[in-house]
Symmetry: C2
Subunit: 651 residues, 2 copies
């Protein structure tokens, strides 16, 4: 029997946290000082040499204040929405009048573009009004509106300003008039899930249960018989402008997870971003309504994703065809899709699961995704991005083998389909949310990221100053400034990657209770100094033998960081390398990597080139020379020289 | 300086050879008794449960003797042509009145379908006459006509009957009126090369040089500036019915090897079958006209294909996208395309190169392709075929990962695009052609396939009875019945895979001259008994280290046979297997494989499944159990049980 009612946790809000981490502050600053201004210029088509966006102009055209045609993807609106959401998170923790003015300017034009009935989607509003809601399968209307709702909720939380929230409530009310269980309303649901989780945010921001109910309706209706998309395909096909989503000429129901009801889903299939957003919404609704059927499905899907379909970097999506999951243990490295947005989605899903079940495995995954896929997807300068996150790179193959063409060799300034860059921005700008949470009584520390904590509990505030030297130091010190009442409870996550840990309160070693990967300090007093230390082992990892792509191979990992081998350190043809598994793994902080993170040096062999033969095949003979191999954290790969990259190396 | 004038060889004709080989006779009989009748029923839509063909009916419709619409691929005509060609080869060595009557029946309907001006293509003749020659890029007209010419030449050579040859000469004459260097004629060339080599056959059958000239025109014009296909794309786009050949919305010139002139081509690119047919025609024209520029390009391309882009099975084509070559050393096993027709084409190319350069490497490749890809592409019952020849098989991935969907798990009865099955039939039916050749003076033995040889030389006939116990015996005995004049010359190919050989004439050991892989016996007399013995080593092979897909792996080979590991012998998850490279490789003829070919048993290890963890990744620990591994010849894989298959196994 699954029960959730007794366990409810909430993430810390951004306003309750202040980041002061050596490692992460850089990224927050980058988002604030570089990424947001850069992306704003992109959205306004002011950045030369980048793929055009047209996103702001689309709103101006829809509002009738500028002449022109809609341009871009049908979901172009969402790029602006995600930018506003990211900017709002920054505003929540920083005074920034200029940024605030930009958002207000954006909201102005959004308000003008909104139809009288509340409808808001510039693609349709620019002369395609008769086609509204006729192609839910592919036209992303609710996806765009959902992102706008998320942005509006974030802006409201950051500033208390209601205007944008009201705009999006009008939009949500209009949707509620068009869709729902009542007679005469459409029984449809979005082709790209997103609004389901956005409606929960709207519900939380406004307290209006109708938004939660609408979200639940979309989730419950999805995949029920008769299938809405099958009907839509048959009946409104002539109006359809976008018929390309399906390879078969029929709607691909697995692609958008409508092949059965959401509660019946046992394996992650189809478009990975859609899946992640949907699972997140399922978890939201399960938590808010106590729906154990939804929760049970969430748990099954969580296990499938993280125990059978996730790359070691935390990336998901094994194929570019449909940007999708494939099946259990199918994790090819060369052809991985591993979309940035799917990684963002996996963090969203994990954080929601954690709000129902205080188990360290959720933050283990969040940490893995953050320190690997998320950071890797943006260049060190904040202006170049990966959409597909290579799990292995052979630049010539990306150029010459069409099966690997999607695996681009270098981060790009922008994309025609630009969902990923602003998604990274909003994730990094809201990093504070993932550091701790509370059930009102206990303060749970998930991520060891230096910050000032002021989290409200039931009986008062937890106030503490957490200092962590670096993510690879294994050292955290927390000065407790306030606890609710006389005695507070603080629980510390034991990272899944550590072997040993010690915890001290005022230099007295503790032997606290451990529950689901958390250390429970149950008698914390004002003024206590908590010290938590772990080893940060450098390790050779292996994959479950059912992951055929990694058979006979190993990956280097240090704490949460997955390492990789780059051509710039190890020469050409990384597939010729083999690791000596008995080699000592030497951390070398002097390697000069950005941020001072150590490289790892280890011993191995490299197959020698054939000097004496031009044949392609010949009798087996092991000719290797001993070499010293250098591994660097995956997240910084491709920031020095373009070239080959390999995570899994032969043993 | 390349010279070809002094070295000209011709393949033996089918009428000069009579097959009596234990191993191969079975396949010849299979083609005659099973494959041809079966495919005839298919072509006439009389075979239930197979993909419909409609090929014969298309001719009847074009001839106006049946009502209906053209059905099938635009190159459906070629299926019937290849069937006639195959049947003609059978007729050349067998009395078979019934088969002869079927061919005559087919020729009747072809004759009726031919237009008055000689044009022959049922797709266009069935109501699309106004579109003739408007879409050379994709419409395969000359491809179909070329196959018909090959069939007509084969039928004429087998029977001496001219009717079909005359039909196709009228067709070729019509093409010559439409295309050519003269003013007013089109400067185009086929989108799918084929007719170039067919015209050389027509030239040889008729002695009419205009056909050789037309072939040369097509080859020389191809890829010259301004590019014909670029113009065609721009000017006749509205008439185009087939716009799907290009991924970019523009003609993909590399796809059909028209990106530069044929003489300028240095690397095999694009659609592999087109490439192979074109290279074959280039070699033909080089040989017939002494064109050293073409020959030089052929040699460069030969080296590229066989030394940098060929699978160990002799298969070519690394990607399903465009059924194409990719680039040097890119030979992924899981996603290989390796089309059957491309393997047939590689044999055609090799045989032509050998007609200008008596070097054993050409028949080394022919033998490799024959004993592996060709045989594997058809089931033991002759009624099921591979179009894509898997170089590795994980059935669940073929089902659930769209990147591997083209790698079908079991041979099929027929295909909507059915180029491959009749191509296999015509190759197997003409196997005799590849066994020996002559320059008029010396008889060259290429393949050790038991046969009665009656090959005309300049001064008389070579007549001999060659007996080979089995392809894995390494034993050949030849009773020489006649040589031209008093003393003849016989050259024996030393297979590239053997280490040791011995040759005896009348039991006297010989130390003959060796040139480019051939043993030259320069004083052979009538009544001599030649005995040639080689070792047939079982070996572990490796690929050039630049073939990343095979890094750290080995493949088992015995003589020309590449071996593979099947699930039915070795259990599930073949990727968990590792070979002990010091293991003895034990041939076991008692394994009960079809034809008595031995299996190979060797020692290795299998990674143990994780009993104690449900995590996907964990610290490296080598847990293997010793196992005995069984490899079987690649050509018989999938004939016992469906399941996994692996050629390259970890060491």
């Amino acid at each position: 029997m699954i029960s959730i009612s007794e366990e409810r946790y909430r993430q810390a809000e951004i306003s309750e946290m202040h980041l002061k981490d050596n490692f992460w502050k850089k990224y927050e600053d980058l988002v604030r000082e570089t990424v947001l201004p850069y992306q704003w210029r992109i959205l306004n088509d002011q950045e030369p040499d980048a793929a055009p966006s047209h996103a702001v102009r689309n709103f101006r055209i829809a509002a009738g204040v500028e002449e022109g045609e809609f341009y871009g993807e049908v979901f172009q609106d969402s790029d602006l929405a995600k930018w506003i959401e990211a900017a709002s998170y920054i505003l929540a923790d920083h005074e920034d009048a200029e940024l605030g003015a930009l958002i207000e300017k954006a909201v102005d034009i959004i308000e003008e573009a909104q139809q009288e009935n509340g409808y808001l989607d510039t693609y349709f509003t620019s002369g395609r009004q008769d086609m509204e809601w006729t192609d839910l399968y592919e036209c992303h209307e609710m996806y765009c509106m959902g992102h706008m709702m998320e942005a509006a909720a974030a802006y409201y939380e950051a500033t208390g300003k209601r205007r944008f929230l009201d705009i999006m409530c009008r939009c949500a009310d209009h949707i509620g008039e068009c869709f729902g269980p009542e007679e005469g309303k459409r029984k449809g649901y979005p082709g790209h899930q997103e609004i389901e989780l956005a409606l929960v945010k709207l519900y939380k921001a406004t307290g209006q249960e109708k938004y939660l109910e609408l979200s639940r309706f979309f989730l419950k209706e999805r995949g029920s018989e008769p299938n809405y998309f099958v009907n839509e395909w048959a009946t409104s096909r002539n109006k359809r402008e976008f018929k390309t989503g399906s390879l078969t000429g029929m709607p691909d129901l697995r692609y958008n997870q409508s092949h059965c009801t959401v509660a019946e889903q046992k394996m992650a299939v189809g478009h990975a971003v859609r899946a992640m957003y949907m699972y997140s919404a399922m978890a939201d609704v399960a938590r808010e309504t106590g729906d154990t059927e939804l929760l049970s499905a969430c748990r099954t899907l969580w296990d499938d994703v993280t125990k059978r379909q996730m790359y070691i970097t935390g990336a998901v999506g094994s194929t570019h065809q449909g940007e999708a999951f494939t099946f259990d243990y199918d994790l090819p490295n060369e052809t991985a899709y591993a979309e940035t947005c799917a990684s963002v989605g996996l963090i969203l899903f994990a954080a929601r699961m954690q709000q129902m079940d205080m188990d360290s495995r959720y933050s283990d995954v969040i940490e893995k995704v953050l320190y690997n896929t998320i950071l890797s997807s943006m260049s060190e300068d904040g202006k170049h991005y990966f959409y597909v996150n290579p799990q292995e790179m052979w630049p010539e193959a990306s150029k010459n083998n069409p099966d690997r063409r999607h695996v681009i060799t270098e981060r790009r300034k922008w994309f025609g389909c630009a969902c990923c860059p602003p998604n990274i921005a909003r994730l990094l700008a809201s990093l504070q949310k993932y550091i701790c949470s509370t059930d009102g009584e206990t303060l749970f520390i998930h991520l060891y990221i230096s910050s000032e904590i002021h989290v409200k509990g039931t009986a008062g505030e937890y106030s503490a100053d957490m200092s962590c030297f670096s993510p690879w130091s294994g050292k955290m010190e927390m000065q407790v400034e306030n606890v609710p009442g006389n005695i507070g409870k603080i629980a510390l996550r034991i990272p899944g990657w550590c072997d040993k840990w010690m915890v001290y309160v005022n230099d007295v070693k503790q032997e606290p209770e451990i529950k689901k990967g958390y250390l429970y300090l149950n008698a914390v007093r004002r003024g206590d100094r908590i010290r938590f230390e772990t080893d940060v082992p450098v390790r050779l990892m292996q994959a479950d033998p059912r992951v055929r792509a990694d058979a006979g191979k190993t990956a280097v990992q240090m704490g949460p960081f997955v390492y990789c081998f780059e051509e710039t350190d190890n020469g050409r043809n990384l597939s010729a390398l083999r690791i000596d598994i008995s080699s000592s793994l030497k951390k070398t902080a002097e390697y000069g990597l950005p941020g001072g993170i150590p490289a790892v040096v280890l011993r191995g062999w490299k197959t020698e080139e054939w000097q004496d033969s031009t044949e392609l095949y010949r009798p087996y003979e092991c000719r290797e020379k001993e070499v010293s191999l250098t591994a660097v954290p995956y997240y910084i790969w491709g920031n020095r020289q373009p070239g080959e990259m390999l995570i899994w190396v032969r043993t």
